[in-house]
Symmetry: C2
Subunit: 328 residues, 2 copies
């Protein structure tokens, strides 16, 4: 590795002071056009590359935000990430992505690392297994935004979707289709998202005056859902409301193996509307969340906090929409 060129090298080459070089490179006023030209030429000639670590250290602004996701390979999060990135790019921010694999210890580490790196802010989708890290951020008065989940009794910036409504719409749709034994394949209930979707499921049943069939909590992931459905092969359901599309796609596969037809024998509703929801056969009825928008709003909230345009927390609840396709 060659050593990098510094502004002092550039200054020497251009025959000016480092201050002048700094002013030129940062587009400050009060520099004569000739000097500016001289400096820029010297910088180009020497191949100057700004040292952002020094600059960030000096100004204590990194123009970088951290994103902590529980599973960045889930298409839901990749889409949200794109939304964040798009906005961040627009404001000249870089994004550091950290994956927790739904492990709370990883989550704690990720937050610590980002704090050490002095990112300007953090967007996090917490596991909700515990919340020490969130409280730490709060105590530090560090700019952060919670994405995708809602913490009861914690007054912080949040952007999440109206999951009670989502659960309600999905279940109501199934009930309207005449289904009476709707299995809900849910994520663990310590997550607000799981609780909210379940609440919607119950609400729809109540409205129809029908006794809810059954809800099971499982670990997230395709395998886990597939195995559960195989295991429950004797259960007499006529529909499944899934926590997300990944679960739903696993159900399609498992039901095929069990020789039960979708939607004739079993109707399926997913959640998230990831792109693959429309690619699979039969295509999935699902609850759509606008993932790009969610990411963009998360960044906007964070940006307001970073630039101190706003001090009081704000909770944004995104509307959801039922997308009816072939699986119901």
């Amino acid at each position: 590795m060659k050593k990098f060129v510094t502004i002092s090298d550039v200054a020497k080459e251009a025959g000016v002071s480092i201050n002048t070089v700094s002013r030129v490179l940062n587009n400050k006023p009060d520099v004569s056009p000739e000097t500016r030209k001289k400096v820029l030429e010297a910088a180009k000639k020497l191949g100057y590359i700004k040292n952002a670590t020094a600059s960030c250290f000096r100004r204590s602004v990194s123009k970088t935000i951290g994103v902590v996701f529980e599973d960045s390979s889930n298409p839901f999060y990749t889409e949200v990430f794109k939304g964040i990135e798009m906005r961040a790019r627009g404001y000249g921010y870089q994004v550091i992505l950290m994956n927790t694999e739904r492990d709370y210890v990883n989550e704690l580490k990720a937050v610590d690392t980002l704090l050490e790196k002095r990112v300007d802010g953090i967007i996090i989708s917490p596991t909700q297994f515990a919340q020490e890290d969130i409280e730490k951020l709060l105590k530090l008065n560090f700019p952060f935004v919670i994405l995708g989940v809602h913490f009861e009794g914690l007054n912080v910036d949040e952007v999440y979707s109206d999951d009670v409504k989502g659960g309600y719409l999905a279940t109501k749709h199934l009930l309207e289709k005449g289904r009476r034994k709707i299995l809900m394949l849910n994520a663990y209930m310590y997550k607000s998202v799981a609780r909210m979707r379940y609440e919607g499921y119950l609400k729809a049943h109540k409205e129809f005056g029908i006794e809810p069939f059954e809800m099971v909590e499982i670990e997230e992931g395709y395998e886990s859902a597939f195995n559960k459905i195989m295991e429950l092969s004797n259960l007499d359901y006529d529909a499944i409301f899934c926590f997300n599309d990944v679960f739903a796609i696993a159900c399609l596969k498992a039901l095929k193996a069990l020789k039960r037809n979708v939607p004739e024998d079993v109707a399926i509703v997913g959640y998230d509307d990831i792109s693959y929801a429309s690619f699979v056969q039969p295509s999935l009825t699902t609850v759509r969340i606008d993932k790009h928008i969610e990411g963009m709003i998360a960044f906007d909230l964070l940006y307001e906090k970073i630039t101190e345009q706003r001090s009081s927390p704000k909770q944004i609840v995104l509307d959801v929409e039922l997308i009816v396709r072939e699986s119901t």
Copy 2:
């Protein structure tokens, strides 16, 4: 935002010098147990959080690498990313992910940003539209690894898969199944990957003494593939060899719309073996690349370069495997 605690605050609290604090926090020898205890307690009491920007600036080591991908929402890259992240975590490195959206200008910017941030190294999947950035890295003697593609005549660190073999295996399989009019739905040929897979396609035809049917180049993405198949509805093929699984999944959907059965009327082979390849109906025959391994090897190569355990470039060609499923 509160101001962060510094080692000098900790030193004052513990009644020692900043040097001693630094020594303790970096686990250096020659510190008495009592002093160590005193310092750690002071640090904890004050809520000290290391300033990595200062540390990185001083030591000119960031313990961070940059990853530049052309499309981080493609499951292929998310899986590779996991492999990289896994290894990086093991060595105490953080990863900055940057997306180019297959835009060469974004690629140039991403590389510049990472250089400014003084990451310790870069893993990049270049668009191959041009290669100024690669040559820049080369000239700087900056540690980097190219992932997924091969540059002819450029002696650099690379990890990519044996795509001539992949194209050959896929095509041979279709020919053995009696298909004679195999359409190849390819990516643009300025990409080495597209060229190599096509070469394998030709090789298999030659071996069977059969005239190749037709190859079309299209932009990457689901929509693009779907539209192309709809557009070619009059073309009389009996099989499609797709550049990747995303194309293949689009073909499944398009052929369904065209009322042509898979695999009876048209057999389909994809490439990459992303997880969704086995989730779709019919499940996809595809060429498997071990994506985790590819990511892990990329990191290992980079690590060797960063730590200067190796100076001469190394090209690793990963083996591929044909996975036969229902689509052929």
